[in-house]
Symmetry: C4
Subunit: 200 residues, 4 copies
């Protein structure tokens, strides 16, 4: 468990270096296969340039802090994590970015970002050839997390790859472990950037 | 005190890596809650790639070097720091950047940079939702620091978030501690960049 | 041999930092002058941010894993490496990137990227002056590696510098040792970027 | 002397990280105040990502290797260094970059890059206010170093700041020590980039 925390904390600091999480923004979580009903989520308000293993706390599947963490605030977006674990039960890790190109794409595309013909599309699990088109959905941003959770549930059919964008906010991506979640986020961000630079 | 110096020095070197302080440019300061009338400000002419705790000196609230530092020049812009501490007494740390996007925004926007609907706006203290518009003021650059201090005083009402731009020069941001000042500067710079890339 | 593995692994991690190999993408190989019929190629599916000397495996000149590595999958593009070693027998190292500017150039240029008058063209072996024009060929991407190997053989005459682009995929470059392969890839990528930024 | 070599070598590796010297490109030199007729210049063909103090060699004021270095090739552009030391006798250090924005500016501006009103202009020695315009000359690139040295001599009056661009090649900058040369190069490159991004 401690090793998983340390590994994800290292990824978080590396993502901060890329500019994906200015100051205290963004949030991350993982589950342990042995206790899948416990979510380890980043605490609220931590500067991501110095995020460490100690900056995770434990919440239940409804986002409520476990007794050992009473009084400590989890990330404001914890409910998004809870809903994704519920909708996609195989998911064990969820990562997030506020990357510029995710935000830019969401300001240009009302419904989804369409990505066609790129080799790196194969970074999404299950995609075996570049000869395909992927639609990454864009959802409106909101501060109402219960409402957004409902949106995710209603729009589940549009989540054909494990990533979506919140408008003017950033990208969520997930996977069956940290390795896969990381691959999905880096795949999405690379594609958002190259596609933006080609079209603009 | 030594720890605060070391922490801010590390932030300064990291900002240099981002390209926010070419060569010897930019300046930084903080106050100690126990001696709020003493300002620890960066010395003039230090290369920011190697800035260290020893590169701070102490000045009084008028920007005059304390006796122990006689003969050493503080940053040429020390008076801006003095005025900000006077106008916003809770302020304990002031940071500065010469970022490209701050300069670019100031060449395009005569009066202020208007930022609307971004999630990262919540990085500014007191802002709780992305559904808002923030105006970051742009002031003309000058080498006349007493005159600029007066401008700040006259325009205080426009400083609705803790940041402003000097035209073709860069951003100042501040907060109640290093953590908050850093969050405000990174929030402003992120928004300047994404907004520039969307509009240009 | 171990030193060569460690050196190339370090280059791979540095290229990942540049954004040339999001997540597990891209592949690399080298040969040992003492056993030129053995190719040391990167294993499939390794995250390039943590690629190490242990992540190479040995295949023969047809891309078949040597007995010691049975059951381990080499990179899906191993046949491209095999073909390049066969076509250019002096080649001892092959490197690859998924850089944004390589992909962008390939989306704009149907046949080749034309590069004229740049000093850095001299980074390509045999070019002694900037007063020249180089055509870097662009080939269509495919998942059919035997077919692509055949394309390389047929188009060999167009490979006047040791680099080509696969469309919406990335750059391959090679040399008589790691030092030269690295120089060729960095030369190509620099030129793709500056040329893109000038024209777009 | 060894300390100066180590300091400049560290700067060279940092500049490589910025993308200013792909692979083996660019060259650097300094003089020792005690033996001003000896130039310590980078050897030809060294990969700048691993440049070390041992990669300098000594040449005389005509660019001829000192006896201890016979048979080792100095950088092909050593004559440019010799001429700058002759034209500006106070100069003790010369640095060079192949930055993208230097090349881009030189492709757009036939005679010089005009820079107006930027605070960072004060990074050039002798400039005390942003209310000024600086012309950084652009000279045509050539492989004929004696001819280029002559150009520098003829055009000396246009070198009003310690920097110039060779077209589609890069920037040279110099100063009375490494600290100042570094400040001049970083000042020039920052201004080339911000000015390019504003105009394009």
């Amino acid at each position: 468990m401690e090793e998983l925390k340390a590994q994800l904390a290292q990824v978080i600091r590396a993502y901060h270096q890329k500019g994906w999480s200015p100051a205290t923004s963004t949030n991350y979580s993982f589950r342990n296969p042995e206790t899948p009903d416990v979510i380890f989520v980043s605490k609220s308000g931590i500067d991501k340039s110095v995020f460490s293993a100690a900056d995770f706390m434990e919440v239940d599947m409804d986002g409520k802090a476990l007794p050992a963490y009473e009084g400590i605030r989890p990330s404001a977006e914890t409910l998004i994590h809870c809903k994704l674990y519920a909708l996609f039960p195989e998911t064990m890790c969820i990562v997030h970015s506020h990357s510029l190109y995710s935000v830019l794409q969401s300001m240009k595309n009302e419904i989804s970002v369409s990505l066609s013909g790129y080799e790196v599309l194969k970074g999404f699990e299950g995609i075996k050839t570049h000869e395909t088109t992927v639609q990454v959905p864009v959802f409106d941003n909101t501060q109402d997390m219960p409402a957004f959770s409902e949106t995710l549930e209603q729009e589940k059919a549009r989540l054909t790859v494990p990533a979506f964008i919140m408008r003017q906010h950033g990208t969520y991506a997930w996977g069956r472990n940290l390795f896969e979640a990381k691959r999905h986020l880096e795949t999405a961000e690379y594609l958002f950037e190259v596609d933006w630079k080609f079209s603009n």
